[in-house]
Each structure stands twice: as structure tokens, then as C-alpha cells.
């Protein structure tokens, strides 16, 4: 508790509002406000300033946090934000440093692309291949592309079958061969908007779409797969502004997709895994 005696009236009343004065001073100030119009006016102004300030500061929280920053924090050790920040601080220097990396990346992509093409060609004739880790990367890439497009659609084009249609579960279950229960994520602040049937890595995929209060779109996608040794293990990945958490469970592969700036995607994935 603070001793405010001798300080300016607005300072004393301000401390009174915060409950930072002792009992004797609290009573004294209450009596003062009761009998003195000026003191009462000052108190009202302080309170009005509080309310206005609270509202204004609330606005700050609606500003998007730079995605690059979120990514750097999430990706952890080995990432040097300062060296990456050079891109903004000194573009010319950054370009000089970046071209060898770009060349190396191009070569790496060429090699990866070539070997991936070889693998796809090789397994394409092997019959129904399970959704293993290599294939899962491919279907996740497709899902990321879908999400990037669909999440920017207006409400009427966001989904194929809107929420409220009682046949969504049976339709998708029979289409992809995976039984599921529609997750209720309202306690996570998400509203179910509806569903789509997609094709990813050549397989039918169920996509359940949700929106949060800010209008950000989240999706749960899943497809049939062979049970693997990684059952239940969650893997987080990022593709630009999209974050994904994927796992396999009981003959199906799942992924939860959302904005990479969302800090609670892991909790969301846990909830989906437990209820779907």
C-alpha cells in the first residue's frame, strides 16, 4: 500500500482506483469524493480515462503478429533471426548473401524433385500404397495448397456442404472409408462451417472447416491409411503462413491446419485427436 498524503489529488484518486492506498486513506478519499464536487469530477475523469485506454489497448491485440517472427520462435535452435532480419534492414547486402543459397536450394529442389518423381513412378505401379511418411508429405502439400485457397473464400464458397447438414458424417465416412465423429470445438472458440471432399495424393480426403471469432479458418483433413508405427505421434510443420499438425491413428491419417500465427494449434490438434 502506498502513502499518498501530500500528493496531487489525481494521483491520490488514481491510487485509490487501483486499491493501492491503505484503509485509512481509502475512507478519507471516499469522504472527500462524497462532499467535494471537484474531487468527484477528477475521479470520474480518471475512470473515463481508464475505460477509453482499455478499449484503445485492446485494439493493439488485433494487430497481426509478424508471421516470420512466430516461425522463427517455433522453429527453435539453429535459426538466427538477426541474420534473416538483414533482408529488411539492408536489402542489397541480403541479396548478395542470398543468391548462393538460392542456387543451392534450386539444385536441392532439382534433386528432391527428380528423386520424388522416381519414387512416385516406382510406387505408382505397386497397387494401393499405404499413406507412409513419404506419401504423407505429398498429401500434406496438397492440403496446404487447398487451405491457402479455400481459407480466402467468402462464407458462401468456403465449404461444399454447410454445417447443419445431418448427412455430412455418413457422406464423408463412406467416401473416404473412415468412420469419425464431427468434433465440437466450440470450447476452443471454433465454429463448424461445413465440409468438403478433396483429393490429395490421389486419395479422397475429408475436410472439415471451422472459423474462429476473428474469421481465421481452421481445417481438419483426414484420409484412410494403413496403421503405421508412428500411430498417434504428432508432427508439426509450416508452409509459409500455414501451420499443420499431422498424425496417424487407427487406420487414418489426420492433419489440423491453421494460420501459423496461431499459438494454440497444438491444443486444437490434441482436442481433435481425442474426439474425432
Amino acid at each position: 500500500m502506498q502513502n499518498t498524503k501530500g500528493l496531487a489529488l489525481e494521483v491520490r484518486l488514481s491510487a485509490y482506483i487501483d486499491g493501492e492506498v491503505n484503509e485509512a486513506e481509502r475512507k478519507e478519499l471516499e469522504q472527500l469524493v462524497a462532499r467535494d464536487d471537484e474531487a468527484r469530477l477528477v475521479l470520474e475523469m480518471l475512470k473515463a480515462g481508464n475505460a477509453f485506454g482499455n478499449k484503445a489497448f485492446e485494439e493493439f491485440l488485433h494487430d497481426p503478429v509478424p508471421l516470420s517472427l512466430v516461425r522463427r520462435i517455433k522453429q527453435g535452435p539453429g535459426v538466427n533471426p538477426k541474420s534473416e532480419r538483414v533482408v529488411n534492414a539492408a536489402p542489397r547486402q541480403a541479396r548478395l548473401r542470398l543468391w548462393p543459397r538460392a542456387l543451392a536450394a534450386s539444385i536441392a529442389l532439382l534433386l528432391v524433385g527428380g528423386s520424388t518423381g522416381f519414387i512416385i513412378g516406382k510406387t505408382g505401379n505397386d497397387g494401393a500404397a499405404p499413406v507412409d511418411m513419404a506419401a504423407a508429405r505429398t498429401w500434406l502439400d496438397d492440403i496446404a495448397d487447398y487451405h491457402r485457397i479455400y481459407s480466402r473464400q467468402t462464407a458462401e464458397h468456403l465449404v461444399e456442404v454447410p454445417a447443419g447438414n445431418t448427412k455430412i458424417e455418413s457422406w464423408l465416412a463412406s467416401s473416404i472409408g473412415v468412420n469419425f465423429a464431427l468434433p465440437d470445438l466450440s470450447d476452443k472458440g471454433l465454429t463448424f462451417e461445413g465440409a468438403r471432399l478433396l483429393v490429395a495424393a490421389g486419395k479422397p480426403v475429408a475436410q472439415l472447416m471451422y472459423k474462429d471469432e476473428d474469421g481465421d479458418v481452421f481445417a481438419i483433413c483426414f484420409l484412410k491409411s494403413r496403421p503405421g508405427t508412428t500411430d498417434g505421434k504428432m508432427t508439426e510443420s509450416m508452409r509459409d503462413d500455414i501451420a499443420m499438425i499431422s498424425w496417424q491413428k487407427a487406420g487414418a491419417a489426420y492433419v489440423v491446419v491453421g494460420p501459423s500465427a496461431d499459438a494454440n494449434l497444438q491444443q486444437l490438434a490434441d482436442a481433435v485427436s481425442a474426439t474425432i
Partner: protein, 172 residues
């Protein structure tokens, strides 16, 4: 808990406080570009020093204090770079950074009004009134005496109240 898992959890916690951290940084720097740079530097430092976080109290308080210290360092460097010489530590709370101008990027008018308040007012108001820190906690984070917290807080409140009138008159 394994160190790696501990570090992951810390990074998750850090991401979850990012919007609040950025808001606090804005009250110090009073422009978005500097705030983003500051937040980035703070996060980098917090991750490398996360073993120093004991998990007690509010993570924000620890991060905020680090943010304030880094910003004071930055101001000091700028003063030296611009020919102002070394800065006396006793002056560091009163250093002036231009709050308005073409460089500043504000999300909206309300933010602009808040950030146009004299330096030091917005930070105290945010910590105490918006985020519920005690006077002692705010004083510790900002490294200022409690008496300064009290006077800045009442000044901030009165200025904010005056802004209501300005806003109303502007609309009319």
C-alpha cells in the same frame, strides 16, 4: 522434463504472449517498425536464456523487463550514433523518441492517440490498468520508482480522458 521438450514448451509460451509483448514494445518504441525489431531481439534473447526463467510468476514480467532493458540499450546506442554522446543512466527513463511523423506506422487512430502520449505514460497505463500488474511490479519492470508509476498513471488517465473529448469534438 527433457531440455528439448522444456525449450519447446518455452517457445510455445513465448508465441502465446507475442501479441501482448508487441503491444508493450509499442508503448516503449511508439512505432511499429521499431517495436517489431525490438520484439524479435527480445525473443531471440529469451530463447537463448530460457534456462534463466524459473517458471514462477508471470512470463510477461520477465520478458517485459528484458524488453525494457534492450530498448534502453538501443536508445543509448542511437544517442551515441547521432552524436549525443554517452547517456547518463539517471536520464534513461526520460529519453525522448519522436512519437509522431511519417515514419511511424499506426494500425488505427486510437493507437495513434495512445502512442502520441508523452513517453512513459502508455507503458505504465498498460502494465497497471490493462494488464493488472501492481505498482511494485510495474516499477520493477520499468525500473522506475513507485512514485513515478503513480504520477505517470494518473497523468495517463487524465490525458486519456481528455482524448475522449477530442474524439467527440472531431466526430462532431
Amino acid at each position: 522434463m527433457r531440455p528439448a521438450a522444456e525449450s519447446n514448451e518455452f517457445r510455445r509460451d513465448l508465441v502465446s504472449v507475442l501479441p501482448k509483448l508487441r503491444r508493450f514494445a509499442m508503448t516503449l518504441t511508439r512505432n511499429a517498425a521499431d517495436a517489431d525489431d525490438l520484439v524479435q531481439e527480445v525473443c531471440e534473447r529469451a530463447i537463448t536464456r530460457n534456462h534463466l526463467w524459473n517458471g514462477e510468476g508471470r512470463l510477461e514480467s520477465w520478458i517485459y523487463a528484458m524488453t525494457r532493458n534492450l530498448w534502453i540499450d538501443e536508445i543509448r546506442k542511437r544517442k551515441v550514433r547521432t552524436g549525443g554522446g554517452t547517456v547518463d543512466a539517471s536520464e534513461q527513463d526520460e529519453l525522448s523518441i519522436e512519437a509522431s511523423g511519417e515514419k511511424a506506422v499506426y494500425a488505427n487512430q486510437l493507437q495513434k492517440m495512445i502512442l502520441s502520449m508523452p513517453e512513459g505514460l502508455a507503458s505504465v497505463f498498460l502494465l497497471v490498468n490493462v494488464e493488472g500488474h501492481s505498482y511494485r511490479e510495474a516499477a520493477d519492470i520499468l525500473k522506475i520508482p513507485i512514485g513515478t508509476v503513480m504520477s505517470r498513471l494518473s497523468t495517463a488517465r487524465m490525458r486519456l480522458a481528455a482524448m475522449i473529448t477530442e474524439t467527440t469534438e472531431r466526430r462532431a
